[in-house]
Structure formats: structure tokens, C-alpha cells
Symmetry: C2
Subunit: 341 residues, 2 copies
DNA sequence: TTTAAATCCGAAACCGTTTTCGTAAAATTG
DNA sequence: CAATTTTACGAAAACGGTTTCGGATTTAAA
């Protein structure tokens, strides 16, 4: 309606200087109780809120956090990233900050996004796979930076990561304990750290249980190619009795392939996923998987960010979020032990 | 790295005044070609980008668009809203604007979000169900406002809506054409406009085809309660041969219920959805549904916004996005005609 | 009572831009 | 060549806040 009051208007109405108004608004000590009350009354009456641009200009702080995803990750529709973003969003709101969202186009090599070049934000949270060069560019700006899984091979960088290797280890071990000796593995490109780490965990579990490694039953690559990967996996001679899908999306896609082969889960083939997205619980049968605390990943990132900004803390630690094996109905116990029960 | 150059630094380096620098940066006419080049060179050398706060302060424009969802809609994980948001995001980026995301907490009655109170944005796009009082509050701020489906019963408000009624009509009619005479309906609260409109479309189709309306087979309410709704629907005497689910989420939830009743889709029961989310295509069997062009909804909203801001256009029109029936495999033709083929 | 310290407030500078307006120099005209 | 117009640039004033610093009052200490 009105072209928005300024601090000057408030000052005039309250019969004080604008310095004084500013002081009461910022809870500065050197202002008397009486005037403070008088000013607050006017402020509330007009519910005046100081203009952000003016404030930022002087304070050199915007109270905005930039959250950068990679467009290729489909951060909004991808059930994993969107959860992380939910966590980020909630924590940002909780801390009275604002969220500026930016999806990096895949082609755009390493040019910095507008929000960082124009300094519209006080810090950036970077989520998902990305060009390492880009991370370095970001670091150069000296903006507080938090990298969320997957890990960036860069020193001096605060990171919040998922315990991928351990999760994969537990998942594989679980399968083995259920009597599976031939366990297929499907995933996206292993060059992506998260998949690579999960693959490592898978291998370690096989080794630690003394099982042989057969590369003909590890199928990787492609983006959400779980359907095709599984089909080729099912055609291998001596089909595996279980599959470890390095993420739930691929696991669900595997369901579809398995279904088309007229095989039943878990009777003919067991499957275990990773991430614990919503679909995992809804799938038929519900998918046993490794839960990643996605929202917590996001909120932790924001809290780290907040601390970096406030305390100017310069500690660059790496936080690793624990995971948890969620047992549902997609794995069959084929051990002799299991049969006896 | 460096504490960021200012226009003053550039001016000094180029041996001109800061007015001049500002002019070349803004492509103003009154600056000579030679100096323009000289300045541009320095600007590019240091890849200087003017500070946003300073600019906004003077220009009274932020180049930020606020996008407001309702937290209860789970905008980020909900496969419908997240798509709309994707469309918004892409179009915002395309127009060199920035996106500030805000999820309204459900309790918070109608207090305006920080980003609007502090004028951090040039306009707001409001998507999803919301309190009408809140919309009015927003309107009072005189910020350009676009309301995305569902419709707000408010005059003088630019809106981008889905052709809900027509879509529901087509879906129901399709079922009827396939020989279904007893068609159940499940949805969330009918008081939410989108559901209400879809219900109206359903009723109109029944009427227009001369079919009776039986309220015992319309089950509504709850949030994503399709599972429970369907279970109660299946227990009704003389079970419907088809179900129209007013959104795909509920349709997929219905799958689960139907599955548990050991009924098969579409042999025992046909089902049709609304929205055409990703899951619809992935479901087993793939779900016949009414496609809503979700991304387009979002990008249209942004384009409307852009026009409002630029042209100061004051036309408050209502745009209705067409829908499209997508035929997949969840509906069985039980008409005599169908049987003959 | 005098002096020192504490309290409260406002003037003014500043943050980094854009924009207006005046003017010197150059270009055009008669 | 003088008069006029154009062109090109810069000084200064905003924009809406915060912060520093000095001074006037009041309070406490001596």
C-alpha cells in the first residue's frame, strides 16, 4: 500500500533521531528505557520492518544463504536431494535466514552464479555431484562454503558427508548373513564419489566374509539406468540370488525389470537399496535399505554455515552422518539357519 | 579473496568517475565509445560485478522473485509441487532473476514472510492451497503477485490455474466410454478448490452420460489417505468397477490397497488418476491419468510475473492451463464394444 | 560541593550503487 | 568565425539503513 515507511519516518513520528531508532531496532545498549518503549510503540503500530538492501549495504551481510544444486541431479524431483533441501529449508527458516535457490546448468562450466557474484548471499551450501574446479572457484570468493555429500577432494573445506562406505558394508554384510553368496551390484557411474564409496563398502564386505568377487555381476553407469542394468544382470549365467542397488531409485527400477522377468521379490531374488527414499517404503514389497538421514544432512549443513558466519569459525572439519539399516521385506533369508526358524 | 572491488575502485583504475563506470555498466547513452571500451576492459580484467545491495537500494528493485509454498504441501518432496517449482526455477534462471524460496508454516496464520516484509523480492508467486486471508495480506503490500492453482476467490489477482473440472470430466467420461457404470471417487478434502473442481467435473460427466450418482462410493478427506479411502471403498456393497482418483498420489496409494485385497488392476478394477506425476508412468501397471503441465504452470507464472514487473502491466487476468488425457494400462475396456474387439 | 563517571542521545559519515544536472569541449550551423 | 547545439563526462545528491563519536545530562564518588 504505502510506499513503505523508512527509518526516517519512524524517527520523525517518535520525535527522535534515526540513529536512536536504529539502536532500539538493534537492541543497542545506549538507549533509555523510556525512549525505547516510545519507539517500539511506533514501530509496532506501523509494523515497520527495516529495508533489507539498506541494512545489507551497511552491515555487509544479507542474511541469505545460497543453496546450489546441479540441475542434472534434478534436485527438486529427485527424492533424495529434495529431502536434503527440505532439511536445509527448515533449518534456514528456523534461523531466520532466507534461502536463495540456484540450479547449476550442466553446460555452464565454472562461471560463478549470479547470486555469488553479486554478493546476494552470506554463504553457499553446495549439494550433490559437481565439478571440482567449480568448488575451487567458489572457495576463492572467500564466501563461507559448506559442501554436502559427495565429498570434494579439496582441502580446507567444511563438508557434511554420508557414511557411504560403512552403509554399503552393512547392507552387503546383511545379505551375506541371510545366506546370500552371490550378490549383484548395480549403481550409477562409479566415478561419482558416493557410488564409488558404496562400491568399496560392498567389496570390503565380500572380502571380510571371504566371498569371491565377480565383476560380471557388477553393473554400473548411466543415469537412473537401474532398469537396464538389472536386465543385463539377470541374464548373466548363474544369476545372483541378491542384488545390492547403490541407491533406492535404481532399486525400484530393478523391481520393474525383475517383475518383467516374472521373478518374484524376495522369493526368487532379494534386493537391498540405499538412501531410504519414500518410494522404498511404498514399493511392493517394501524395500530393505540403508537409511540416510537426508533432512538432517541438510540441517546440519545449515547449522555449520551459521556457525561459520557467526563465530567466523575457521575450523574446516568433515562431518560424517551415520546411516542405519532398515529391514523390510525385500530380502529373503536363505541360510540354513534361516530355514530352521 | 580480495574484499571485492567496488565501482569506485574500477573508476580509479580506469581514470574516470564512478558515474561513468555506472553508465557503461548500465549501457547508458551518454558515454563515449573510447571510454566505454577503456572501462569495460578494466571491468572484465577484474571481472567486476556491481554489488547487489547498493544497486537494489537505489533502483528499488532486487531482481529476486519470492516463491511461497505451504509447508503442508511438502512442496519439495511432493511430486506435483516440485515439478511446478522446477518450472519456476528454470524460467527464473532464464530471465536472469533469482529465486527466494519460502515454505509457510501451517500454524503461522497470516503474518507476512520475512522476505516480503523486508522487501527482499520484487514479486511473489504463491503456489498451492493457502489461507485467503493471507493472500489479501500479500495483496496489500502492493507487491506484484501471481497465484498458481488452486484458484483464490479474490478479485484483481493474476492467476495461473489448471483446468481441473474439464480434466476430471474427460477422465470420468473416458471411464464411462470404456463401459464403466459404477465409478468410485477418491480425493483429499473437497474444500480444497482443486479437489472440489475435480469432483464437479466427475459429477458433470456422470450426469451428462445419464449415470446415477452414488455418494457411498465417493470417499474424500485426509492428507494422502488414498490407501485408507480405497480400502473403505472396496468394502462397499457392489464394489465399483473403476475408481477415479483425484490425484496420482492417491491413485498409487489405491494401488497398494487394491493389491492387498488381492484384486488386480485393471482386470478386477480400473483406475484413473490426475496430475501425471513420475510415479504414474512407473507404476505397475502404468497409470492412465490426466496430465497437468506442471513445469509450464510454473514457467507461465514467472513470465506473468516478469511482465507485471516490466510493463507494470496491471491487467489481472486468469490463465487456465489445458490438460490432456494420457492413456496407459490401468483402465480395462468392459464395454460390449470393447469385448468385441 | 566539586569532580569523575556513567548514561543517553543525535550529527554526520559511511556502505555501493544510480541518477540528475551542470558544464567544458567538440561538433554543427549560419 | 561566432553562435548554437551536441556530446561526454563528473560532482553531488539520493537510496535506507548502521555506526562512530562527541557532547549534554544525570548519577555516583570524593
Amino acid at each position: 500500500m504505502s510506499p513503505s515507511l523508512t527509518i526516517n519516518d519512524i524517527a520523525r513520528l517518535a520525535n527522535v533521531s534515526k540513529s536512536t531508532v536504529s539502536k532500539v531496532l538493534n537492541d543497542k545498549p545506549d538507549v533509555g528505557l523510556a525512549t525505547k518503549k516510545k519507539v517500539m510503540q511506533i514501530v509496532e503500530k506501523h509494523n515497520f520492518v527495516p529495508n533489507a538492501s539498506g541494512k545489507s549495504l551497511k552491515k555487509r551481510a544479507t542474511e541469505n544463504i545460497g543453496v546450489i544444486f546441479r540441475k542434472d541431479d534434478n534436485p527438486l524431483s529427485n527424492p533424495f536431494f529434495s529431502r536434503v533441501l527440505e532439511g536445509i529449508e527448515a533449518e534456514i527458516a528456523f534461523n531466520d535466514l532466507n534461502l536463495m535457490l540456484y540450479s547449476m546448468p550442466s553446460n555452464k562450466k565454472s562461471s560463478l552464479p549470479k547470486i555469488v557474484k553479486e554478493r546476494k548471499i552470506d554463504g553457499v551450501i553446495l549439494v550433490g555431484t559437481r565439478n571440482e574446479e567449480f568448488v575451487r572457484e567458489l572457495q576463492k570468493t572467500n564466501l563461507p562454503l559448506i559442501v554436502v555429500d559427495p565429498r570434494a577432494d579439496i582441502s580446507d573445506c567444511q563438508q557434511v558427508l554420508i557414511d557411504n562406505e560403512n552403509g554399503a558394508f552393512l547392507a552387503t554384510q546383511y545379505l551375506i548373513n541371510k545366506g546370500h553368496k552371490r550378490i549383484g551390484f548395480i549403481a550409477g557411474e562409479l566415478s561419482e564419489h558416493s557410488f564409488g564409496q558404496r562400491y568399496t563398502g560392498y567389496l570390503k564386505a565380500l572380502k571380510s566374509e571371504g566371498l569371491p568377487i565377480d565383476e560380471t555381476i557388477v553393473k554400473t553407469g548411466g543415469y537412473e539406468a537401474g532398469y537396464e542394468l538389472t536386465k543385463s544382470l539377470l541374464q548373466v549365467s548363474e544369476r545372483p540370488s541378491a542384488i545390492f542397488a547403490a541407491n533406492d531409485i535404481n532399486a525400484v527400477l530393478a523391481y520393474k525389470a525383475i517383475n518383467e522377468f516374472n521373478l518374484s521379490i524376495p522369493d526368487d531374488i532379494s534386493i537391498i537399496g540405499f538412501d531410504d527414499i519414500y518410494l522404498a517404503r511404498m514399493a511392493i514389497p517394501p524395500l530393505t535399505t540403508v537409511r540416510v538421514y537426508k533432512e538432517e544432512l541438510g540441517s546440519l549443513a545449515v547449522r555449520s554455515m551459521r556457525d561459520m558466519i557467526n563465530e567466523g569459525s575457521d575450523k574446516r572439519s568433515i562431518i560424517i552422518m551415520p546411516i542405519k539399516l532398515i529391514k523390510r521385506n525385500s530380502v529373503k533369508d536363505i541360510s540354513t539357519h534361516g530355514k530352521l526358524i
